[in-house]
Subunit: 515 residues, 2 copies
């Protein structure tokens, strides 16, 4: 038995300290993941889908994909029946789709608090925060390189956000920690400061191994062998290229039955054709190859059809967000994913603004709404994204997290039970009356309408008396309050100790490195 | 022949001044109204629709509607087979729907520039600006009562907005003109400062008559007899009440074959039940009664199924905008309108914010997107709305007008022709390449992606060097530039003179009044 499992068993067996820690925990309300009771929006016709699927097979057979610096992968492909020429892998039509068929259409990602487990796939939508920005921004400190302190603060905000189901991964890059060690601190932050599910490291295959090891400490060896406890982000180097670092991480995760999002990373017009249909063709070809490869590692390994796709401003070369073309691709890729029977990841709080201002609001709302309607199952970047992903914004994190509540309510669909039909209310009030005081309103008003916890609904005069604050200022106050109120969820002290020891040991074993 | 027609004929016949005016006109690019090539989003099931339709018939038969201070309307209803008791009108099941069947499912509203004609109904979407606010706001003058100068400036901005198809009506209330005369100045502004279609006055039946008279001057008597040249907004006093002022205006418009939006005005929880299904039932009952009444006036008169519906914050009583429940209602009412075979009006740039900030952006984008997907045919308030409709914002007007471009592009749907499939591009670029310079990108980049004309796509450093402007500041600069660049569209001087004379005459005939 590993140290991890021993620690866990000791914790579970019940030291008094562990029990006291659990009793003193503040209960944070987290909504259950979204279970849609609304249709998906299908922007592509059946015929369009068939054309794209046929074209993607042609791409895989005639053009193929590159698996770079990865001889073992080439061997696996050769064995599976692909045509391997140098690093180029060409897949006979139907091969990738056949290999993909062993991937599950839905899976459970476990959290250390079982109430926070998420079901990824089906009609569900799991929301996770922004991933990857090297900078942070808030009204207090402006735009600056992110630190581990910022990272911890974002994990705390995520933990306290009712509508966020997932703690995410690299909520910002803690640039004050050496690159080869920061994954350890990041994982420890997710494991100790939150009890929501989290993502593993992918920046080096050994860091995937560390992620699995730390998860074993947190959940126990056997539990991690039997269950999926991480969903990690494997980007494809579009167009059509699979590098050995990302594939190395994928190999470890798939082998351990840990989930991976296999995701083309596309700025349309740069990494894919400047048309919707062309981009979708390439996305599908890339995902088919990547998911097929995951199933060569371990048939049945949980994977997600990913699509990070945005458009480009051809005047400046800047990526653009919340655009109608991005929406088309997000919706079309969702249709392709469902036809493949795979969970789908896309959309997020995307925008290109430098500030959490009106531009950020428009672009983000466009992306969030279209993601909901596209049938996305796992929405990374669902809050906190700013400036094309260069910045994690504290204020925008809480603004977006608030808007995620609206997605939950929209996804409920429309109740048609007798109470909802409200015929008694219409009879009671009649022509010219009002409903504010009627029995039906009194019985239902608390649950009927979604209400923002952040935005301003006050009369103008009150708002002006209180300082004429814009949304950014309201959000700043909320960030300060949440961080001041934060209380750590209980964690078995033995597990905590074992995690700290693992982090310390791994840090000692390596000299600092910047890659 | 009226003075108007004489003037028009003289103008057409071709005075040199008219020809010179037409030649010197600056050509303003206006997009054609949206013709959707995407499906509608149907949030209600067939069963739900049938329940709501059956309940609405029950409401009309058992509860009925009030036609207040309008004995002629009661007579019309009695004759049509309704049960009239005092001012209460109860409609046997099926009667209203039968009467509605003579209303056209689509109609043309003519503009004085025939290139600006709009087709209202079908899969089309016509966009019109904000309507009704007593206040205006901009960065230069803050929030203040609106004046005729503001009104004219909004008409100019609307004329210059590429994605706006319609000049609208009361783009703000010109509070410096007496209430009983301002409609004359407003109509003259729409007729002279823009060549897009416009709305008529509804605040008093005689003002509808003035609107028709002025339209006859602009278009010619016969043209107005034969064609629809105005679409005007007839609000229902929800719940279930039709007042004599609005009905008086409707009677004039319908009798002259001019279009009317027949629109419940509902803050859910106050003027309708606090549930989606209950609100939709009431909306349908009200529209059925209102449209049926229009057809009693003149079978075949063009009308639009309207739904202005938002939710309420039960903590403060404030109306809330861009909420998921408002989206449900907008989408559900669209389904009901299509089943009735009527054009549909709903949605807009709704928000409750005091500033064009992130809140305004989120809420507005929610409303605009859901309106597009709901199948709305006529979207009043599509730009400029702020603070729950109390304020017309100059900056937000141009921000929203820019976003309307995204709606146009989304509505195009996805091209699947050979060029869009881009297989040659994927072959040309191959794994690891990039598409920026490839032939397909060069041939297509200009038309492929929607691009904002307003929002910031610059690198952070450039943006910071230029003053770190937020969206409001960028929009303010755009408002100033547009107003500085504005050039009046050519108008036959004889018609212009006749319009001015009519306005002067009508103003002379009445003492100023504040109602």
């Amino acid at each position: 038995m590993s140290d991890a499992a021993t620690a866990r068993r000791r914790g579970r067996g019940g030291g008094g300290a562990a029990r006291r820690a659990e009793r003193s925990a503040v209960s944070i309300e987290t909504a259950r993941y979204i279970e849609r009771n609304i249709p998906n929006f299908e922007v592509l016709t059946e015929e369009a889908l068939e054309i794209i699927e046929a074209n993607a097979e042609t791409v895989l057979e005639e053009i193929g994909v590159n698996f770079v610096d990865n001889p073992a992968a080439l061997d696996r492909w050769r064995e599976a029946g692909a045509d391997v020429d140098g690093e180029r892998v060409r897949l006979p039509k139907g091969l990738a789709r056949k290999l993909c068929s062993t991937a599950p259409s839905q899976f459970t990602q476990h959290a250390r608090n079982p109430e926070r487990n998420v079901e990824i796939g089906g009609r569900n939508l799991v929301l996770a925060p922004v991933y990857g920005p090297p900078f942070v921004q808030d009204m207090n400190g402006g735009r600056r390189y992110a630190t581990m302190q910022d990272f911890q603060d974002f994990v705390k905000l995520g933990y306290m956000s009712k509508w966020l189901h997932h703690s995410g991964g690299t909520v910002c890059e803690p640039t004050d920690i050496p690159v080869n060690k920061r994954h350890l601190d990041m994982l420890y932050a997710h494991m100790s400061l939150s009890d929501k599910p989290y993502m593993g490291s992918v920046t080096e295959p050994s860091r995937a191994v560390d992620s699995i090891e730390m998860s074993k400490i947190l959940f126990g060896d056997q539990f991690v062998q039997d269950n999926t406890v991480m969903t990690s982000l494997i980007n494809i180097n579009s167009p059509l290229t699979f590098d050995s670092i990302m594939m190395g991480a994928l190999e470890h995760y798939a082998a351990h039955n840990q989930a991976a999002i296999i995701s083309p990373f596309i700025v349309g017009g740069a990494m894919a054709p400047v048309s919707i249909a062309g981009t979708l063709t390439q996305v599908l070809a890339e995902v088919l190859a990547g998911v097929a490869y995951s199933q060569l590692i371990r048939p049945g390994a949980p994977v997600i059809f990913g699509a990070f796709v945005t458009s480009i401003d051809m005047n400046s070369g800047a990526p653009t967000f919340g655009t109608p073309e991005a929406s088309h691709i997000t919706m079309g890729a969702g249709q392709l994913a469902r036809r493949l029977g795979l969970p789908y990841r896309s959309a997020g709080s995307f925008n290109g603004s430098k500030l959490p201002d009106a531009q950020a609001g428009y672009e983000t709302a466009n992306s969030l709404n279209m993601g909901l309607l596209a049938g996305v199952n796992f929405m990374l970047h669902s809050c906190g994204w700013l400036e094309g992903g260069l910045v994690s914004s504290f204020e925008k994190f809480v603004m977006d997290a608030d808007q995620l509540g609206a997605l939950h309510h929209f996804a409920r669909g429309v109740s048609m039970d007798e109470n909802a039909q409200a015929m008694d209310a219409i009879r009671e009030v009649g022509p010219g009356g009002h409903y504010l005081g009627c029995a039906h309103t009194q019985a239902n008003f608390k649950s009927s309408f979604w209400r923002s916890d952040l935005l301003d609904y006050k009369p103008f005069e009150t708002w002006a008396d209180e300082g004429s604050r814009d949304t950014m200022a309201l959000a700043n106050a909320r960030v300060r309050k949440l961080l001041a109120d934060y209380q750590q969820p209980a964690l078995d002290p033995a597990i905590d100790e074992a995690l700290r020891a693992f982090v310390a040991k791994r840090k000692e074993e390596m000299p600092d490195a910047s890659y």
